[in-house]
Amino acid sequence: MDILKIGNKEFSNRLLTGTGKFSSKKLITEMLKASGSEMITVALRRVDFAAGNENIIEYIPKNVVLLPNTSGARTAEEAVRIARIAREAGCGDFIKIEIITDTKYLMPDNEETLKATKILVSEGFHVLPYVMPDLTYSYKLVEAGAAAVMPLGSPIGSNRGIRLKEVIQILIDNIDIPVIVDAGIGRPSQAAEAMEMGADAVLVNTAISAAEDPVAMGKAFSLAVQSGRMAYLAKLAEESKTANASSPLTGFLRE
């Protein structure tokens, strides 16, 4: 079995999903069933008294690992506070650190993220930091005890695919903890691309939840991830600039 270990949990499905932007929460349950995704993100917010409280958790089957995110945090301190609340609320020990001050591109602050990682690791969390792909920071995150690194492929929700491919490849080739491409993956083929590159997993939210049929799209992504992973393990044949005939170049009938 090809198992992915993150923190103290083992996963056989390498598609991580998110709960954002579904038109109906019931679709989350169906999407999880169709895709087989074993880990899903949730966010923590103030209750909107006018709208009444929702409980996204009850739409997530018990066997799926919850990955609360610290979205909304602008500093390490705020992220740590959100992480502690999420754990206290019974969400488990996994946390996706997301620290953002830039509202146009939603680019993460690697420096604050590293700070928060150190604190939360010391408190026993399994920390999955959402980062701008950077080798030096990734080494520091490994040293700090992160459970994975999650570089963005392109800005959150942009569906532009793996634009930071070269740097992400460097992370994949050099980082010893799981590298999970998060953000920007818009199509199953892009998820397959990340997996062919050797990414350990991908996290996809918008491309699934904003599809016309999120349940079928969840399955499409899951198959693409499996396909890409299988291709990576099978080791791709070499590229070349000129043709290499696949039929024999002898014994032609013309002479």
């Binding site: 932007k21 949730v42 923590l44 103030r46 008294f49 409280n53 929702e54 409980n55 995110n69 959150i156």
Partner: protein, 65 residues
Amino acid sequence: MKIVVNGKVENTDQDTILNYILEKNLEPKTVIVEYNFKIVKKDTWNNVKIKDGDNLEILNFVGGG
């Protein structure tokens, strides 16, 4: 008395966290409460008395990526 709830000042005559939550028609199972910046476990909501000037954060999990 005046308390701060989710960053806004409001008046309440509810005496405990539990009663405050129920008055707001919230399902206790699904909300998380920080009382003066410390998380309070649900089973103690009935014992935590609300005083003038207290700060409450009432949170829940929502969709997010």
